[in-house]
Symmetry: C2
């Protein structure tokens, strides 16, 4: 029942921030050490965000010492750095007791605690949210402190600037804490780096202070990892009657030497051995979706094509360090700035080079307008490699809406490979055409290496293996995982539709004429996706039933991918059962 690994920890006495206020600086320092130990122990066991949390321990303790949460409100941006906050607000059990490691979610979560205000998994939004909270407080006649805490990495996102612009003219209390640990997910980029470096180097006295320029009161605290200093810094901004920006210097990864030596690889960690920092699991050998894509790009560059590999602060998700190190002229990281990543690509292709943008579906949501206005309406042939699938994890990080964003826009061709060979052929074709923006859905699941390919993916023909009665159109990752085994058991036809949004209407007509049922499977939300286009196209025929499978219209939070696939009937067993019921109709 009680698996508390550290019953002796002072932390056990902290049930809420109120309990903090009784402690001495020495005790608070002891608490910081305990929190650090717990972050490392849990991350080593199950993985998680590491360096950001190690860096913000003292700041968090000081915040809760000085302010009166939950009445005073703070928005942590991004909330993957809230392990210390969670431990101090009644949720330490999820670090003390390994059996309860999964009982607390990794981001702020209003359903979990009154000390959390938003589920916040996309960066840079905190200041905008805080400006709204402050305005509402003013209208209500409230007087609580409203605070946004934002990292220097998050500051590169445009909505952070939109927030600053509006926060600067707030007439009452509003505090922006800039947690400057001198890193984004990877190295931070852009003019912001110099700007913050100058402020740090001058102890906040640098001549050109953009925050003062906008009208903020400004303070600098060099000792962000010293509890006494941070308490003073927070006390000085508590209950102010105007917008103020408190710039705090902290050390990302503090207290764990490997993280200090190699910050880029310790932002987020998979399970590792605490004694020597070695990973617990080896990466599988052989080609992967990433390695295939990178090989195509490197080959193109080696053959003289002017290619730019572009990403928005997530090189690790695609193994892009390979390009960064070996082809630095062909590599661009624009920071946490998805809008810029797409507009930048639009500018680049217009001026004669071939951009390939690496995107994560959940963050790509920030650039929907750029996909439409800057790229598609301008008919610019950028190439995009999109990591998207039905996956477990936080409701702030679902990767389901890729089709909503891409498939419904004019001009875009969205391709979904079923094998690594197909991925290679699609990407190679995309790099060599100049007619359309092309997105390729990164295979999210285990798929075969080899398979048939086409020469031209502009209007791809469906790849059909004939069976009878039922035709299963299984897009991308769903083809080998669900479509092929289900069809085999049913004796049904199985189809690789190749594209998520360009219908092969000729083959569809033939399939409709020769089958009783068409089933569509896709690794994303049904609404606005592939299957609904098929249903709409075949709607005016009365000789065919169409059934669409994919994610339901819901946010799921920390539900496993396996459970979700089962819930959405995206398993061979479910499809076989459902198909048999449909055949009875």
């Amino acid at each position: 029942m009680n698996m508390n690994m550290h019953p002796e920890f002072l932390l056990n006495q902290i049930q809420s921030p109120k309990d903090l206020k009784k402690l001495s600086i020495d005790e608070l320092t002891q608490l910081a050490s305990e929190i650090r130990t717990l972050i490392l122990e849990k991350d080593a066991k199950i993985g998680g965000h590491l360096s950001p949390d190690l860096g913000i321990v003292e700041l968090t303790i000081a915040y809760h010492y000085v302010f009166d949460a939950p009445e005073d409100k703070i928005i942590w941006d991004i909330s993957h750095q809230t392990y210390p906050h969670k431990m101090l607000t009644g949720r330490a059990f999820a670090w003390l007791d390994p059996d309860k490691y999964e009982d607390v979610t990794p981001y702020t979560n209003p359903e979990e605690s009154p000390y959390d205000y938003f589920a916040l998994g996309h960066t840079s939004a905190s200041i905008a949210l805080a400006t709204g909270m402050a305005k509402a407080r003013d209208l209500r006649g409230g007087n609580e402190n409203i605070m946004a805490l934002i990292g220097d990495g998050s500051m590169t996102g445009g909505v952070a600037f939109e927030g600053l612009n509006n926060a600067a003219i707030e007439k009452h209390n509003l505090v922006v804490v800039l947690n400057d640990n001198q890193w984004s997910i990877d190295e931070n980029v852009g003019g912001m780096v110099k700007l913050l470096a100058d402020l740090r180097a001058s102890n906040g006295q640098a001549q050109n202070n953009p925050f003062k320029a906008m009208g903020f009161d400004y303070r600098y605290e060099a000792k962000g990892n010293d509890i006494a200093s941070m308490i003073k810094a927070f006390e000085a901004v508590k209950d102010v009657d105007h917008p103020i920006l408190l710039h705090v210097n902290t050390l990302k990864g503090k207290g764990y030497e490997p993280a200090l030596q190699s910050p880029g690889t310790h932002h987020w960690v998979a399970p590792f051995n605490l004694e020597d920092d070695s990973p617990k699991f080896e990466a599988p050998a052989g080609p992967t979706a990433n390695s295939v894509a990178l090989d195509v790009i490197k080959d193109a560059i080696d053959q003289g094509q002017k290619v730019l590999a572009i990403n928005a602060a997530i090189p690790g998700a695609f193994g892009l360090s390979d390009i960064k190190q070996n082809y630095p002229d062909n590599y661009v990281d624009v920071g946490i700035a998805e809008q810029e990543s797409i507009s930048f690509a639009a500018g680049a292709v217009k001026n004669g080079v071939t951009p390939v943008v690496f995107q994560n579906s959940t963050f790509l949501q920030r650039a929907f307008d750029q996909l439409s206005h800057d790229v598609a309406a301008n008919e610019l042939p950028i190439v995009m490699f999109v990591s998207a699938s039905i996956n477990g994890g936080s409701k702030t990080h679902l990767g389901n809406f890729d089709q909503v964003m891409i498939s419904n826009l004019p001009n875009w061709i969205y391709l979904a490979p079923t094998t690594l060979a197909e991925e290679k052929a699609m990407l190679t074709w995309a790099l060599n055409q100049k007619d359309n923006p092309v997105a390729i859905k990164k295979p999210a699941r285990q798929i075969p290496v080899d398979g048939p390919v086409l020469d031209d993916y502009a209007k791809p023909a469906y790849q059909v293996k004939l069976g009878k009665d039922i035709a299963i159109l299984a897009l991308g990752s769903m083809y080998h995982q669900v479509g092929v085994p289900a069809a085999k058991e049913l004796g049904a036809t199985v189809v690789n539709p190749v594209s998520a949004n360009i219908l092969d209407t000729k083959t569809l007509d033939e399939l409709a004429a020769s089958h009783r049922i068409i089933i569509t499977l896709e690794d994303n939300a049904v609404d606005g996706g592939f299957g609904q286009k098929v249903a709409s196209y075949l709607g005016d025929r009365d000789d065919i039933l169409v059934k669409n499978y994919g994610a339901l219209r819901e946010y799921t939070d920390q539900v496993s991918g396996k459970e979700l696939l089962d819930r959405y009937h995206l398993t061979p067993k479910n499809i076989v059962n459902d198909a048999k019921v449909l055949l009875e109709k």
Copy 2:
């Protein structure tokens, strides 16, 4: 054949920017005067953007005098201020000859001229596009000048900041021209206003210079409407080998006194009388979609509800000056910052007030992520009033994708009123519920004032007028415009589905069982919209045909709304004809 109204104008001799370079300053000044005359004459006749173009005449002349377009490249942000640019690059005929007024589009347009690089109708993108162009130039080994010209209003958009952040570290030539005319579409807002005012007041010498802080070289030119000064200013930044920001002070509306007296109403103008600035057409009397919405909000405020009316720099589109003037505490304009507008609303509702965000579908594209992550995933009941429809105009301003963005996200309820009474009931209900984010589609067409309403719009029941064989589900504006007259002629059933994304499956089942054909009509793109959801839901029945009507997946450019409705068969005549064909099946 030759309807040139000003054959004597010097402008007739300017076929390309090359011809400018031969002129004296006096002749260039004469040219400026002619261009201003032409802007006023054409705008008075057919309407258009006015003040921004009047303010940028001298700057544009100087640009083309100094730089060598189209090899040197400039991106005008936003491109509604390019009338002078168009006149100097071979397109003066569209101002000189009233018969050719419509022959040139109102935004930059690469299909129209090699001097235009992007169709740019959404603000703030220029610096991001330019960073991509500059990087591509570097990779190609080119050496042309790359320039982004951006207004002070456009500077409030987050992607402008993302652009600045990346532009500041460009290693070669990149010039950002900040055209500071001290206005956005309405009054500019935020900390940026003070920042720029300080720089202007100090002739560019203010202590806190954010551009220098980021690493830009910085220049200030106070006399942006003086050709000789602007020539010098541009010559000084031509061929520089590093990023530079040239801050130029210009006068919005220069040369037209009414525009100087009332800048807010002269940003864009409908046809007017040049002699006294009076409008040529009176606004119709009686309630409108805007007035109904504003009345609901004012009533709620008067009754003590804490309501915030929020918009992103387009108060004029919704008549919000009424709220701004009479309820200033309840009014927020966040600038051209759609992301902020939605996040701000999320923060406000979380802290106890009721936000109503006024959005234009085309600009709302910037905030897709906020609709999902900040609002829907956080289950926050913000209210949104969305101007969206199939309309003519520039391909950069299509309002078709509202359903793509809203209808496919979990938690959102998207309602489409068919009468003004229904609009009022929906908005009143939305303001008083706390369960879901609710969007209401602003009726774009003439609709009746009166009609039946529901008490609860959470799961609205379809409103059915029974006929036979065919059921026409006509959403929102399509109901009275197309659905009712077509159904009358066909003797068909006509249905008001009330919601764009919440299906009344019980009624749908009944309709499917009692009809042979279901037709869906919607005032937006078919892909990702209402009809495809109906087709998908009814896909597994073989006793009903479904046919979806709406906009095709295409960008149209300056095609009239009337022509588009006909193209998409969204007229009673088309639907009657199509229905008769379907009945023969």
